[in-house]
């Protein structure tokens, strides 16, 4: 399996006035293409910081981060924006859709920053919205959609530039358990059918059970890294 992510001795320290607060204290991890990873840990364990670094939203204080073999820690802000646009899709706990903007346009948003012609944008946005099961909700605005549907729009937005990696930060945190299972099923389906690597942060073990690999953070270090090849799969059941 070829390597997607490699982090070496990644540290992150925040300064709160005069006090240095370590959030990450030497993380070493390798994640291959096509993996489905759940990052777990209690709040303050450093998992969100780790995700921000993986997502090129935050720089490590020390250590190196390779994305598909490229060292990205030293790249410029514009190059990071390009990586976030083309190589990483984000899904958030609070969906983070633009309000009063249709599902279609929300999904088109990432393509606005890389020079797609408007017809091509439309075509691809409709394609991914259909893929996540919202082909009939194109013109609905977020407040006309249920939480699960909103998260599907967010997933469609994350996928529309066909990135190899989707980062999901507590994607089911705001959803009931039935909808959560549906969303997790969608992630599994994408992982299996589209060969998209998924890294999700969660603190719920039954959500993490959908992943084939579970990494547990505590106090800024990885305390457990287990594989679970018999991941619970709604799709496979």
């Amino acid at each position: 399996m070829n390597e997607l992510i490699r982090v070496e001795e990644v540290h992150k320290t925040y300064r709160m006035g005069d006090v240095e607060v370590p959030a990450l204290r030497g993380i070493n991890l390798t994640i291959a293409h096509g993996e489905f990873v759940a990052v777990m840990g209690s709040s303050g364990s450093g998992k969100s910081t780790f995700m921000n670094i993986l997502g090129c939203l935050d720089r490590p204080s020390a250590g190196r981060y390779f994305l598909e073999g490229q060292e990205v820690g030293s790249l410029s802000a514009d190059e990071w924006a390009y990586i976030r646009n083309k190589r990483i899709g984000f899904v958030f706990q609070g969906f983070n859709l633009l309000s009063r903007t249709s599902a279609l346009e929300n999904v088109e948003l990432p393509m606005m920053y890389n020079g797609f012609a408007s017809q091509e944008r439309h075509r691809r946005a409709i394609e991914v919205l259909t893929l996540v099961g919202l082909g009939n909700r194109l013109d609905h605005t977020p407040n006309q959609l249920s939480g699960g549907q909103q998260q599907r729009v967010a997933i469609a937005r994350a996928l529309v530039n066909r990135p190899p990696l989707v980062l999901a930060d507590e994607p089911t945190g705001n959803l009931d358990s039935v909808t959560s299972n549906e969303i997790m099923g969608l992630f599994q389906q994408l992982n299996r059918d589209q060969r998209i690597s998924v890294i999700l942060v969660t603190h719920e073990s039954d959500i993490a059970a959908h992943a084939r690999r579970q990494i547990v953070f505590r106090d800024g270090v990885v305390v457990s890294d287990q594989r679970n090849e018999q991941a619970l799969s709604r799709v496979e059941q």
Binding site: N52, G55, L57, D58, A77, D78, A81, Y82, R84, N85, K86, F90, F92, N96, L97, L98, R100, L109, P110, M112, Y113, N114, G115, S118, R157, N161
Partner: protein, 405 residues
């Protein structure tokens, strides 16, 4: 991100807060409207003053023959016979800065009509004298070119002369006698009143200068030539050209003094136009302050908007917007507001200056250049005052922005 799309996003963002966008624009609308209306008022005043000065004769030059020196006695201007009618004709023909030329011969004469007589100033002039002095006829006509050629015995009389010789009777076609020569009255001038020195301008009789030369004064030269320049700005140019032309025509060597003298009234004109300009600048700068205030209003609302939309900015950054994309988005929004406000302001300014013209009877003059300047300036206000909020938006940390509630 393409320009058209940026514009669409900006328009949509503004459309979401229509009232707020309008109120923000109102500052610019009033500012631009005030600039245009104020400058129109100033310009109107300036052109009125100009016209009044022109009526006084500021773009008028007077050419007098030089002084005569005989045995150490310098006789003063106008006493020699060096200036000819042909000089005046040459000016009119050859100088582009010269609009009208008329010889002037003057003498105090006793004018007789029936049993009344009146001492007045007889002036021998050309038809162009009417344009030079902007002097309309109330009745009949002014002198014609034909009157010059035939040295016709016709006269145009001023209001004072008409009143003194004819009272309330019709003066037109009556016969007046000057030195026993009969002249037919062909026109009566409109009243012009007194000069600054108290001379009654209406106390005059105008006859063809050729008639004056041949029949009254028996001279071949002219006493003076009055010249009207094309406009007030070209008076100096006309003065130079006349000097050059006359030196040439009179064959005056480089070392020798002019045998003529060209005078103008440009000092008065300059003072008056300066006053008008100061007024226009003053009005314009007062109005510009309101434009500035409008710009601050835009900045204020843009800052609020950036704060309100912090999360949106975070989302856009997370999906790949670069700092400059975010910056451009907010900058375009500010510029769209300022430019739209500018356009409405231009309409308001034109409308209100028309109203002022109609209702306050104040002459206003809208200069197309000021409209263009006002529009560009409002756009610049948008860029200037939009820059800081846009920069603030672009510099947001995406993580903080995404977490913002």
């Amino acid at each position: 991100m393409q320009g058209l799309m940026t514009l669409r996003i900006a328009l949509r963002a503004l459309a979401r807060n229509k009232l707020r966008a309008f109120l923000t624009m109102l500052g610019i609308i009033i500012g631009v409207g005030a600039v245009i209306a104020m400058v129109a008022i100033g310009e109107g005043a300036k052109s009125t003053i100009r016209a009044q000065i022109a009526a006084l004769g500021t773009n008028v030059l007077i050419v007098l023959p030089g002084s005569n020196v005989q045995g150490g006695v310098r006789a003063g201007f106008g006493n020699v016979n060096t200036l000819l009618d042909a000089d005046g004709k040459a000016m009119a023909r050859e100088l582009p800065s010269v609009a009208f030329v008329s010889p002037v011969l003057r003498r105090q004469e006793q004018v007789v009509a029936a049993n009344l007589n009146w001492g007045t100033l007889a002036q021998g002039v050309a038809p162009e004298f009417q344009q030079i002095r902007d002097w309309e006829v109330a009745q009949g006509r002014f002198l014609h070119e034909g009157d010059m050629e035939s040295a016709a015995k016709v006269a145009v009389i001023g209001q004072t002369v008409a009143r003194q010789l004819f009272g309330s009777d019709d003066a037109l076609d009556a016969v007046i006698r000057i030195r026993n020569i009969p002249f037919r009255v062909i026109g009566v001038l409109v009243p012009k009143g007194q000069t600054g020195q108290g001379t009654d301008q209406d106390d005059t009789v105008m006859i063809p200068y050729t008639t004056m030369q041949k029949r009254l004064m028996r001279i071949t030269w002219v006493q003076s030539i009055v010249v009207k320049a094309v406009n007030a700005e070209r008076v100096d140019e006309a003065q130079e050209q006349i000097t050059l032309l006359l030196r040439q025509r009179h064959r005056i060597g480089p070392e020798r003094e002019d045998d003529f003298n060209v005078r103008n009234l440009s000092d008065i004109a300059e003072a008056a136009t300066t006053t008008a300009r100061v007024m226009a600048v003053l009005l314009g700068s007062v109005a510009s302050i309101s434009l500035l205030v409008g710009g601050i209003g835009i900045m204020n609302i843009m800052l609020v908007s950036v704060t309100e939309r912090t999360r949106e900015i975070g989302i856009r950054m997370a999906v790949g917007a670069r700092s400059r994309d975010i910056m451009l988005q907010f900058l375009v929004e500010a510029v769209v507001m300022a430019a739209t406000g500018g356009l409405i302001g231009i309409l308001l300014g034109i409308g209100s200056s028309e109203l002022i013209k109609q209702w306050a009877q104040w002459p206003t003059l809208i200069n197309p250049a000021i409209i263009a300047i006002a529009f560009l300036f409002s756009g610049a206000v948008g860029v200037f005052f939009g820059f800081y909020p846009a920069k603030k938006a672009a510099n947001l940390d995406p993580i903080e922005a995404l977490r913002y509630e």
